[in-house]
């Protein structure tokens, strides 16, 4: 082989290597792209809901109100009957079956929607107003194009009569898509059109706060002690190995720990975000200790020696100088640890947070679910309307994760000192 041939061979090897690299990056990007595309194309529909416009006659006779209504009179209105009368006026339905089919085009909550509207707009009494009522999930799915209508009636969720009403309403311009406020304000529901992730978001929030309050101080103190004060001997080596091992323990194991200790020994209430937060804190602890130690280690010894040289005690040198300088690293490590905890489902399964919770939790002591749990629960539901809801929840979860990770990266780059 001549010199030129060898040179050519080395060049082509280099080119091949580069090509492999590009292919791997492209493959990774392709997978991410497919995931994001699938989630977004399925989930974007959930942020809007189909609403049907209804003309409400708020006259006092219709509402059965006396001339000067008191608060009690308002509470005694039969809102179900009132709403039903107005709905039945929208299209002529004669038989009971037809009437029932017409009513099921509207959300099962129509009574409460009308009630809330009237109670909060008492100045409109006596007038005729237009009001948008949430449509039932089946109609919503068809309006968004997720159901085909070109199949025989017995296989469709929407009957022929309902289709005629739908076409009529469409022609009259009474069907519209509006922002889905329920998605963010409501808890779980078995009716897809009124189900929301409000409860799950609050549950996740409470768990993460509890997790932060418990894990951050403990992790920081443990890291400071191990890095700055502990003698180097077989025992501290043993602890170090165990912390690294704990960080790699599958999360479900921590769920068992939570079940065994928090629920069975301390008898804390099942399904609450307090227990969820503590369980997640156990899981997150070693994952925060490791980056905390790394950032403490990165502070150069000259800082400590300088402080000691002017007469500071060991505690002063650590607390006044080393820890503040290591803060950007420890904070970003903590945020990334919390982001991991946010996406965790398995440990929550065992402490009962994988549950159907309608009430939006007010405190960490209330039963609640969490965002990843909501994804899991909705993906199991039989109703078609939950498909887009599932993807929308994934979008929110991804959004929170990206936000938390960006804050971590930003904090590190902005505040971190470069030691040259």
């Amino acid at each position: 082989m001549t010199k030129e041939q060898r040179l050519k061979k080395r060049y082509s090897a280099e080119k091949r290597f580069k090509a492999y690299g590009i292919i791997s990056v492209c493959a990774a990007l392709l997978f991410v792209g497919i995931l994001v595309f699938k989630v977004f194309s399925e989930g974007s529909g959930a942020f809007v809901k189909t609403a049907i416009q209804l003309e409400l006659d708020l006259s006092k006779e219709k509402l059965n109100l006396p001339e000067k209504p008191t608060k009690e009179d308002f509470e005694n209105i039969d809102f179900y009957d009132f709403a039903q009368q107005h709905i039945l006026k929208i299209y002529p339905a004669i038989t009971t079956k037809e009437k029932k089919e017409l009513l099921t085009l509207f959300s099962s909550d129509f009574e409460y929607e009308v009630k809330d509207f009237i109670l909060s707009n008492q100045n409109l009494i006596g007038q005729k107003v237009f009001f948008k009522i949430t449509a039932a999930s089946d109609l919503d799915q068809m309006h968004k194009g997720n159901y085909t209508r070109d199949i025989p009636e017995e296989r469709r969720k929407v009957s022929n009569f309902q289709l005629t009403i739908y076409d009529f309403l469409l022609k009259e311009n009474k069907i519209s898509k509006i922002f889905n406020n329920y998605l963010f304000s409501n808890g779980d529901s078995r009716n897809p059109e009124i189900a929301g992730i409000g409860g799950a978001m609050l549950g996740s929030f409470f768990s993460i706060i509890v997790c932060l309050i418990i894990s951050f101080p403990i992790a920081l103190l443990a890291a400071v002690y191990l890095e700055e004060f502990a003698p180097k001997n077989a025992f501290t080596d043993f602890i170090e190995i165990n912390i690294n091992n704990l960080a790699a323990v599958p999360s479900i194991v921590f769920g068992l720990l939570g079940l065994g200790i928090l629920l069975n020994v301390f008898e804390l209430p099942r399904s609450t975000s307090l227990v969820g937060g503590i369980t997640l804190a156990l899981m997150t602890l070693p994952r925060i200790i490791i980056p905390c130690r790394a950032s403490l280690k990165a502070v150069p010894p000259s800082i400590r020696e300088g402080a000691l040289a002017v007469g500071a005690s060991k505690v002063q040198s650590v607390m006044h100088h080393v820890v503040p300088l290591a803060m950007p690293g420890t904070l970003s490590g903590t945020i990334i640890g919390l982001a991991q905890a946010l996406g965790e489902t398995a440990p929550l399964l065992l402490i009962g947070m994988v549950a159907f919770v309608v009430q939006v939790p007010g405190t960490p002591m209330d039963p609640s679910s969490s965002l990843p749990v909501q994804v899991y629960l909705w993906s199991e539901s039989a109703e078609r309307g939950f498909v887009e809801k599932t993807s929308a929840t994934i979008m929110m979860l991804l959004g929170f994760l990206i936000a938390m990770n960006s804050i971590a990266v930003y904090a590190r780059q902005k505040f971190e000192k470069k030691w040259i």
Partner: protein, 337 residues
Amino acid sequence: MNKIKFIAAFVLGLGITSAASARDQIQIVGSSTVYPYATVVAEKFGKSGKFKTPVVESTGTGGGMKLFCSGVGTQHPDVTNASRAIKSKEKALCAKNGVNDIIEIVVGNDGIVFSHSLKAKDANFTKEQLWRALAHDVDINGKIVANPYKKWSDIDKSLPNFGIKIMVPPPTSGTRDAWNSLVMGKGCSKAYKELAGKDAKKGCPKLREDGLAIEAGENDTLIVNKLAADPELFGLFGYSYLIGNKDKIKAASINGVKPSLEGIQDYSYPIARPLFFYVKKAHIGVVPGIKEFLNEFTSKKAMGNLGYLTDIGLVPLSNDKYKITRNSATKLINIKM
């Protein structure tokens, strides 16, 4: 020192919070088959305004029983759903932990459908054919052999000429329990039972392990999508999933009977079973709303022939059975332990 103080404070904090926790929300665990019905009732119950909405967890029948029977006190659930009746072993566990008074409510009926893609040709099976397709060992010419059938037509010439592929729920699910007793037990051939003798009880419901019976996990929606995509694939799950996905899948007939509301109610459709839930009597009066929840669940509005549970696939009880259930719910009648 700091760390020690911190841990001490933490443990103290746990102690205080645990003392302060009294539950005012009904807690329900148990079967994933009853879960959809229990959640709908729970939601309606919460909307009526007087009590908080109960929390419902889907833990599977067995897991629910274990939690339910673990003791009396607000840290233990009040109600457990079950897709089969309570077993004597579970009763013993309950009794051991002081849970002596249990009320049994029959919710309604559920049919298991053996279903496949809409694109496939209609099919009809007998229980024995289904047993032969799924069993680990079968009898052939008077001998017990490992299941040799690879195609449906190997079992019977009248069956379709393609490979056997069946998605089955995991052993923890109540659907699997019911399938085992209703199909694998009853469909088990006489010859096999005679040959196996004592071992028949264990041998009949044992599923084949050569990859043709695919264990699919509890995610029924996933199974529906897989069935829709592959016309040669079969799957088994509750009747409500067939109702919810009738634009994608259809049910095969069993012994010539297609699953229907009436067929499941009078058990003329062969794979039908009652669904239950159990209530801990000791918690009535301690956790608010249990009595009222029982009343709502067993009301005509929910469980009756035109009740809202029928809209999502529950097959209501026949009139006589409904009266018995309603009676034990209003009078809080215990089961025999």
